[in-house]
Amino acid sequence: MIKIEVNMELCQHYGQCVFEAPNLFKLDDDDKLEYHAEADDSERDNVESAVDVCPMQAIRIVE
């Protein structure tokens, strides 16, 4: 299990994470980010990619 943390003060809801880890991140009807704070280990590569592509660098994996 991995823990995901998004700094919602930094997040600008660009939604780039959605492409990298679609099971965990999505933009709601108001274009606001929704995400799962916990994910299966099998998602680690996807979450790391989501961390990489966030323009605001707002996502981190809590180790």
């Binding site: 600008q12 939604g15 780039q16 933009l27 274009d31 990489d52 592509v53 323009p55 660098q57």
Partner: protein, 433 residues
């Protein structure tokens, strides 16, 4: 205090207490050298380790700072004054043993002898070379006086921040993304702002006149002035900046001059080599550097916005793409391809031929307007359509070439752009124009 390398740090591992080279690696093996120490270098190093390369890896870069995120430089860094630690990319365990030589500029390369030479005269042999030196700001060819600024590096932004005080009069030369973003930030900080640019509208080259005019209208609503269709004739002031004289004779007085007139590729250190340096460094779709005779080098790669490479999502034309996602996409690609070449496990030939079609993506915040785009709007043949919404509100604008969507730009829209992004992606799998 930052715990990462700072000013004048040389030859220090990037946030690591271990030695630079693991004990298991014989010191006689030349390292992979990445020249340039920004985001592209970091992603390349990470991807090389992910691909299984455990040998020596050295990054040599001119800036004193470890890799940091540049988008906040024109916004948050100017408005709230964050430090390097706030914009630095987190270091990962996998790259803890990478040697980071910061504040060190590579001045030349010898591709036959496989060395690069740094500005202290030292020669560094390499087994493979990654070119990641990126761009620098283009400057007006005018006398250097106090009060002239640009925004490319963290140090640039820090220096400008100190001058953006309420009531200061800022003259911005250039109406591209950096120019418009810095203008908006300066206005929000209480400065008077005038944008001078040769185009008929701001952002006309990347986004076209339709969207450019709308963004101008929104800037004007916030009190930004424009002098468009004008060029700079002279700079006024002998010790410090006092104003600009335009080609029309008109004078724009000001306290602070910001130059955002595009960028220049940092290829000087490769002059005299066989590489094709026509615009950046030419690379094939595996991002191998290509010589003027067409030879692609298995041991030399190019990453980031200095790489001119073909993206078959659009066509076979090699282009440089100055978007934020490109250092990450190209760095990962080079890590995989070069990692396979270094491993010599037979996977290299297949990897080289694998399609590489990164989706260009960019974002911009100017006042309350969030601009978001996918694809290459500038490739349009002039066929620009409003896809949904209204220009004066939230809108998605499509850019077509030969009746195919090649780019989409949203003002105030995000999730709604995703189906259009999908249409552009479909270009890659469909037949090429």
């Amino acid at each position: 205090m930052s715990n990462q390398p700072s000013t004048s740090a040389r030859c220090r591992p990037f946030e690591s207490s271990s030695s630079a080279v693991p004990d298991a690696v014989p010191v006689t093996i030349a390292p992979v050298i990445i020249v340039g120490a920004s985001l592209g270098a970091l992603r390349t190093a990470e991807a090389l380790r992910r691909a299984g390369y455990a040998g020596p890896l050295t990054v040599i870069g001119e800036e004193p700072h470890a890799p940091y995120n540049r988008p906040p430089l024109s916004k948050e860094v100017l408005s709230t004054g964050v430090s390097h630690s706030a914009v630095a990319f987190p270091a990962r365990a996998a790259t803890a043993d990478v040697e980071w030589m910061l504040s060190a500029r590579v001045v030349s390369a010898d591709l036959e002898a496989r060395t690069v030479t740094a500005d202290d005269g030292r020669k560094h042999p390499w087994r493979a070379l990654v070119i990641a030196t990126g761009l620098r700001s283009r400057r007006l060819d005018l006398p250097l006086i106090a009060g002239r600024h640009t925004v490319r590096t963290l140090d640039d932004a820090m220096a400008l921040r100190d001058e953006l005080v309420p009531g200061a009069s800022v003259v911005m030369v250039g109406a591209g993304f950096i120019g418009c973003e810095v203008a908006a930030t300066a206005r929000k900080l209480g400065c008077e702002v005038t944008i001078v640019a040769p185009g008929a509208e701001p952002l006309i080259r990347p986004l076209g006149a339709l969207v450019g005019a709308e963004l101008r209208r929104r800037h004007e609503q916030h009190g930004v002035s424009f002098a468009l269709g004008r060029t700079v004739a002279a700079i006024l002031g002998e010790v410090a900046f006092e104003g600009l004289q335009l080609d029309t004779g008109e004078v724009i007085a000001g306290d602070v001059l910001v130059e955002a007139i595009g960028s220049v590729c940092n290829t000087d250190w490769l002059d005299g080599t066989s590489l094709d340096l026509t615009d950046g460094v030419l690379a094939d779709s595996a991002l191998r550097a290509v010589s003027t005779d067409g030879t692609a080098h298995d041991d030399i790669y190019v990453v980031g916005d200095i790489a001119r490479f073909p993206n078959r999502m659009f066509d076979d034309v090699a282009r440089r793409i100055e978007h934020w996602n490109i250092p990450t996409d190209t760095g990962k690609r080079v890590g995989a391809v070069l990692g396979a070449w270094l491993a010599d496990d037979g996977s290299f030939a297949e990897l080289v031929t694998r399609e590489f079609t990164p989706m260009p993506a960019f974002w911009s915040n100017q006042f309350e307007v969030g601009v978001q785009a996918y694809g290459l709007p500038a490739l349009t043949d002039g066929d620009i359509r409003i896809l949904q919404g209204e220009l004066s509100g939230a809108v998605a604008v499509g850019y077509y070439r030969a009746d195919r969507l090649v780019g989409v730009v949203g003002l105030g829209l995000k999730a709604e752009l995703l189906p259009y992004r999908q249409q552009i992606t479909a270009l890659a799998s469909g037949k090429l124009t």
